[in-house]
Protein backbone atom coordinates (compact mmCIF):
# COMPACT_ATOMS: atom_id res chain seq x y z
CA UNK A 1 0.00 0.00 0.00
CA UNK A 2 1.54 3.22 -1.11
CA UNK A 3 1.57 6.29 1.09
CA UNK A 4 -0.40 9.38 0.05
CA UNK A 5 2.79 11.34 -0.70
CA UNK A 6 4.11 8.66 -3.04
CA UNK A 7 0.73 8.37 -4.72
CA UNK A 8 0.82 12.11 -5.36
CA UNK A 9 4.30 11.98 -6.89
CA UNK A 10 4.62 13.67 -10.26
CA UNK A 11 5.59 10.79 -12.43
CA UNK A 12 3.02 10.74 -15.16
CA UNK A 13 1.03 13.77 -16.02
CA UNK A 14 -0.08 15.44 -19.20
CA UNK A 15 1.66 18.68 -18.14
CA UNK A 16 5.45 18.40 -18.53
CA UNK A 17 7.29 18.34 -15.25
CA UNK A 18 9.42 21.44 -15.95
CA UNK A 19 6.32 23.48 -16.82
CA UNK A 20 4.75 22.46 -13.52
CA UNK A 21 7.92 23.35 -11.64
CA UNK A 22 7.99 26.77 -13.27
CA UNK A 23 4.34 27.33 -12.36
CA UNK A 24 5.02 26.20 -8.79
CA UNK A 25 7.97 28.59 -8.47
CA UNK A 26 5.97 31.49 -9.92
CA UNK A 27 2.92 30.95 -7.70
CA UNK A 28 4.98 30.06 -4.63
CA UNK A 29 7.34 32.99 -5.16
CA UNK A 30 4.49 35.46 -5.60
CA UNK A 31 2.82 34.32 -2.39
CA UNK A 32 6.07 34.34 -0.41
CA UNK A 33 6.80 37.86 -1.65
CA UNK A 34 3.25 39.03 -0.90
CA UNK A 35 3.37 37.43 2.54
CA UNK A 36 6.73 38.92 3.47
CA UNK A 37 5.70 42.43 2.35
CA UNK A 38 2.56 42.21 4.50
CA UNK A 39 4.28 40.57 7.46
CA UNK A 40 6.71 43.51 7.54
CA UNK A 41 3.86 45.98 8.04
CA UNK A 42 0.91 44.15 9.65
CA UNK A 43 -0.74 47.36 10.86
CA UNK A 44 -0.98 48.66 7.33
CA UNK A 45 -2.31 45.31 6.14
CA UNK A 46 -4.95 45.40 8.90
CA UNK A 47 -6.01 48.76 7.56
CA UNK A 48 -6.18 47.34 4.01
CA UNK A 49 -8.38 44.45 5.18
CA UNK A 50 -10.58 46.86 7.11
CA UNK A 51 -10.98 48.96 3.99
CA UNK A 52 -13.05 46.18 2.38
CA UNK A 53 -15.68 46.77 5.08
CA UNK A 54 -16.49 43.08 5.32
CA UNK A 55 -15.04 42.24 8.71
CA UNK A 56 -14.98 44.16 11.98
CA UNK A 57 -11.65 45.72 12.91
CA UNK A 58 -11.11 43.28 15.78
CA UNK A 59 -11.00 40.41 13.28
CA UNK A 60 -9.17 42.35 10.54
CA UNK A 61 -6.28 43.20 12.84
CA UNK A 62 -5.90 39.59 13.99
CA UNK A 63 -6.07 38.29 10.43
CA UNK A 64 -3.35 40.78 9.48
CA UNK A 65 -0.95 38.97 11.79
CA UNK A 66 -1.96 35.53 10.53
CA UNK A 67 -2.67 35.65 6.78
CA UNK A 68 0.81 36.78 5.66
CA UNK A 69 2.39 33.77 7.38
CA UNK A 70 -0.19 31.42 5.89
CA UNK A 71 0.72 32.78 2.45
CA UNK A 72 4.43 32.36 3.14
CA UNK A 73 4.00 28.76 4.36
CA UNK A 74 1.77 27.85 1.40
CA UNK A 75 4.27 29.42 -1.01
CA UNK A 76 7.07 27.43 0.59
CA UNK A 77 4.95 24.28 0.41
CA UNK A 78 4.73 24.69 -3.37
CA UNK A 79 8.40 25.41 -3.90
CA UNK A 80 9.69 22.76 -1.48
CA UNK A 81 6.94 20.28 -2.38
CA UNK A 82 6.20 19.54 1.23
CA UNK A 83 2.51 19.55 2.29
CA UNK A 84 2.03 20.32 -1.38
CA UNK A 85 -1.63 19.46 -1.82
CA UNK A 86 -2.55 21.26 1.40
CA UNK A 87 -0.71 24.39 0.23
CA UNK A 88 -2.42 24.35 -3.14
CA UNK A 89 -5.86 23.87 -1.59
CA UNK A 90 -5.38 26.74 0.85
CA UNK A 91 -4.07 29.04 -1.89
CA UNK A 92 -7.08 28.21 -4.09
CA UNK A 93 -9.38 29.05 -1.19
CA UNK A 94 -7.48 32.26 -0.36
CA UNK A 95 -7.56 33.51 -3.96
CA UNK A 96 -11.29 32.72 -4.20
CA UNK A 97 -11.91 34.81 -1.09
CA UNK A 98 -9.74 37.65 -2.48
CA UNK A 99 -11.67 37.64 -5.76
CA UNK A 100 -15.07 37.63 -4.04
CA UNK A 101 -14.00 40.40 -1.64
CA UNK A 102 -12.63 42.51 -4.50
CA UNK A 103 -15.76 42.15 -6.61
CA UNK A 104 -17.97 42.81 -3.58
CA UNK A 105 -16.00 45.98 -2.80
CA UNK A 106 -16.32 47.14 -6.41
CA UNK A 107 -20.07 46.47 -6.42
CA UNK A 108 -20.46 48.49 -3.22
CA UNK A 109 -18.47 51.33 -4.75
CA UNK A 110 -15.62 51.16 -2.25
CA UNK A 111 -12.38 52.80 -3.28
CA UNK A 112 -10.03 50.11 -2.05
CA UNK A 113 -6.32 49.47 -2.19
CA UNK A 114 -5.94 45.72 -2.31
CA UNK A 115 -2.84 45.67 -0.13
CA UNK A 116 -1.76 42.47 -1.84
CA UNK A 117 1.83 43.59 -2.32
CA UNK A 118 2.16 46.48 0.10
CA UNK A 119 3.10 49.81 -1.47
CA UNK A 120 3.76 48.19 -4.84
CA UNK A 121 0.05 47.49 -5.33
CA UNK A 122 -1.25 50.71 -3.80
CA UNK A 123 -2.20 52.23 -7.14
CA UNK A 124 -3.45 49.12 -8.84
CA UNK A 125 -6.90 49.50 -10.30
CA UNK A 126 -9.72 47.00 -10.04
CA UNK A 127 -8.95 45.31 -13.39
CA UNK A 128 -5.25 44.80 -12.60
CA UNK A 129 -6.08 43.43 -9.18
CA UNK A 130 -8.76 41.08 -10.49
CA UNK A 131 -6.65 40.07 -13.50
CA UNK A 132 -3.70 38.98 -11.34
CA UNK A 133 -6.00 37.12 -8.96
CA UNK A 134 -7.61 35.23 -11.84
CA UNK A 135 -4.26 34.34 -13.44
CA UNK A 136 -3.02 33.03 -10.09
CA UNK A 137 -6.26 31.16 -9.55
CA UNK A 138 -5.92 29.56 -13.00
CA UNK A 139 -2.36 28.45 -12.24
CA UNK A 140 -3.32 27.02 -8.85
CA UNK A 141 -6.30 25.15 -10.28
CA UNK A 142 -4.12 23.77 -13.12
CA UNK A 143 -1.61 22.50 -10.56
CA UNK A 144 -4.43 21.01 -8.49
CA UNK A 145 -5.85 19.27 -11.58
CA UNK A 146 -2.41 17.90 -12.49
CA UNK A 147 -2.12 16.66 -8.96
CA UNK A 148 -5.58 15.07 -9.10
CA UNK A 149 -4.79 13.37 -12.42
CA UNK A 150 -1.68 11.84 -10.91
CA UNK A 151 -3.72 10.65 -7.97
CA UNK A 152 -6.25 8.93 -10.23
CA UNK A 153 -3.60 7.47 -12.54
CA UNK A 154 -1.56 6.02 -9.69
CA UNK A 155 -4.62 4.57 -7.99
CA UNK A 156 -5.55 2.65 -11.11
Amino acid sequence: MKSASSILSFQSSTIPRFVRRIAEFIVGGIFIYAGVIKALDPIRFASDIDNYKILPWTISVRLAFYLPWLEIFCGLALILRRLYLGGLSILAALISVFVIATVAAKVRGLDITCGCFGHASKNWNFSTHLGLDLVLFGLVISLLCACGRNFTTTER
Partner: protein, 136 residues
Amino acid sequence: MRQALILVVLAFLPGIGQALYFRDKVSWQSPVPASEMVTVAQARAWGRNAIWVDARPDVEFERDHVSGAVPLNEDRWNELLPRFLATWSPEKRVVVYCSSQSCNASREVARRLRHEAQLKNVFVLQGGWEEWLEKK
Protein backbone atom coordinates in the same frame (compact mmCIF):
# COMPACT_ATOMS: atom_id res chain seq x y z
CA MET B 1 -7.03 17.89 4.36
CA ARG B 2 -4.47 16.90 6.95
CA GLN B 3 -1.78 18.81 5.05
CA ALA B 4 -3.93 21.94 4.92
CA LEU B 5 -4.60 21.65 8.62
CA ILE B 6 -0.87 21.38 9.37
CA LEU B 7 -0.18 24.54 7.33
CA VAL B 8 -3.05 26.40 9.00
CA VAL B 9 -1.67 25.52 12.44
CA LEU B 10 1.96 26.20 11.48
CA ALA B 11 1.10 29.72 10.32
CA PHE B 12 -0.34 30.49 13.75
CA LEU B 13 3.06 30.20 15.44
CA PRO B 14 4.91 33.14 13.85
CA GLY B 15 1.60 35.04 13.68
CA ILE B 16 1.12 34.80 17.44
CA GLY B 17 4.77 35.67 18.03
CA GLN B 18 4.48 38.76 15.86
CA ALA B 19 1.19 39.78 17.48
CA LEU B 20 2.84 39.56 20.90
CA TYR B 21 5.72 41.70 19.67
CA PHE B 22 3.27 44.31 18.33
CA ARG B 23 0.81 44.07 21.23
CA ASP B 24 1.51 47.59 22.50
CA LYS B 25 1.77 49.15 19.05
CA VAL B 26 -1.61 48.10 17.69
CA SER B 27 -5.08 49.34 18.48
CA TRP B 28 -6.87 45.99 18.89
CA GLN B 29 -10.41 47.27 19.43
CA SER B 30 -10.82 49.97 16.78
CA PRO B 31 -8.82 51.21 13.78
CA VAL B 32 -8.25 54.53 15.47
CA PRO B 33 -8.42 54.82 19.26
CA ALA B 34 -11.18 57.18 20.41
CA SER B 35 -8.53 59.49 21.84
CA GLU B 36 -7.12 60.04 18.35
CA MET B 37 -10.46 60.87 16.69
CA VAL B 38 -11.98 64.32 16.53
CA THR B 39 -15.38 65.52 15.41
CA VAL B 40 -15.90 68.39 12.99
CA ALA B 41 -17.28 70.56 15.79
CA GLN B 42 -14.30 69.91 18.07
CA ALA B 43 -11.78 70.53 15.31
CA ARG B 44 -13.51 73.75 14.30
CA ALA B 45 -13.42 74.92 17.91
CA TRP B 46 -9.63 74.68 17.85
CA GLY B 47 -9.64 77.48 15.28
CA ARG B 48 -6.15 78.70 14.43
CA ASN B 49 -4.62 76.11 16.71
CA ALA B 50 -5.49 73.40 14.20
CA ILE B 51 -3.67 72.50 11.00
CA TRP B 52 -5.99 70.74 8.55
CA VAL B 53 -4.33 68.05 6.49
CA ASP B 54 -6.02 66.74 3.35
CA ALA B 55 -5.04 63.10 2.80
CA ARG B 56 -7.14 62.68 -0.35
CA PRO B 57 -5.59 62.35 -3.84
CA ASP B 58 -4.40 65.59 -5.49
CA VAL B 59 -7.33 65.69 -7.92
CA GLU B 60 -9.86 65.77 -5.10
CA PHE B 61 -7.85 68.33 -3.16
CA GLU B 62 -7.73 70.63 -6.19
CA ARG B 63 -11.47 70.27 -6.69
CA ASP B 64 -12.22 71.52 -3.19
CA HIS B 65 -10.82 71.31 0.32
CA VAL B 66 -11.15 72.69 3.82
CA SER B 67 -10.06 76.30 3.80
CA GLY B 68 -6.37 76.53 4.69
CA ALA B 69 -5.85 72.76 4.48
CA VAL B 70 -2.45 71.42 3.49
CA PRO B 71 -2.32 68.51 1.03
CA LEU B 72 -0.46 65.47 2.32
CA ASN B 73 -1.22 62.18 0.63
CA GLU B 74 0.74 58.96 0.42
CA ASP B 75 1.22 59.21 -3.36
CA ARG B 76 3.52 62.22 -2.95
CA TRP B 77 4.48 61.75 0.69
CA ASN B 78 8.18 62.64 0.34
CA GLU B 79 7.40 65.74 -1.67
CA LEU B 80 4.51 67.03 0.43
CA LEU B 81 5.78 66.25 3.92
CA PRO B 82 8.39 69.06 4.00
CA ARG B 83 5.72 71.51 2.84
CA PHE B 84 3.45 70.37 5.66
CA LEU B 85 6.25 70.56 8.23
CA ALA B 86 6.94 74.14 7.19
CA THR B 87 3.44 75.06 8.39
CA TRP B 88 3.55 72.88 11.51
CA SER B 89 4.44 74.08 14.99
CA PRO B 90 4.47 72.03 18.23
CA GLU B 91 1.57 73.82 19.89
CA LYS B 92 -0.78 73.17 16.97
CA ARG B 93 -3.09 70.20 16.63
CA VAL B 94 -3.09 68.32 13.35
CA VAL B 95 -6.46 67.24 11.92
CA VAL B 96 -6.20 64.73 9.08
CA TYR B 97 -9.17 63.97 6.85
CA CYS B 98 -9.96 61.92 3.76
CA SER B 99 -13.12 61.59 1.71
CA SER B 100 -15.51 59.78 4.06
CA GLN B 101 -15.90 57.59 7.11
CA SER B 102 -15.02 54.51 5.06
CA CYS B 103 -11.72 55.75 3.63
CA ASN B 104 -8.48 54.87 5.39
CA ALA B 105 -6.09 57.43 3.90
CA SER B 106 -6.48 59.76 6.88
CA ARG B 107 -5.66 56.94 9.29
CA GLU B 108 -2.55 56.03 7.34
CA VAL B 109 -1.36 59.62 7.03
CA ALA B 110 -2.02 60.21 10.74
CA ARG B 111 -0.15 57.02 11.61
CA ARG B 112 2.84 58.02 9.49
CA LEU B 113 2.88 61.50 10.98
CA ARG B 114 3.00 59.99 14.45
CA HIS B 115 5.56 57.30 13.76
CA GLU B 116 7.71 58.61 10.93
CA ALA B 117 7.56 62.34 11.60
CA GLN B 118 7.32 61.75 15.37
CA LEU B 119 4.53 64.30 15.76
CA LYS B 120 2.12 64.44 18.66
CA ASN B 121 -1.41 65.84 18.70
CA VAL B 122 -2.36 64.21 15.41
CA PHE B 123 -6.09 63.50 15.06
CA VAL B 124 -8.31 61.84 12.46
CA LEU B 125 -11.48 63.67 11.48
CA GLN B 126 -14.60 61.57 12.04
CA GLY B 127 -16.60 61.24 8.83
CA GLY B 128 -13.92 62.99 6.78
CA TRP B 129 -14.65 65.48 4.02
CA GLU B 130 -18.28 64.31 3.63
CA GLU B 131 -18.99 65.07 7.28
CA TRP B 132 -17.25 68.44 7.01
CA LEU B 133 -19.45 69.33 4.01
CA GLU B 134 -22.60 68.31 5.91
CA LYS B 135 -21.69 70.44 8.91
CA LYS B 136 -20.61 73.36 6.77
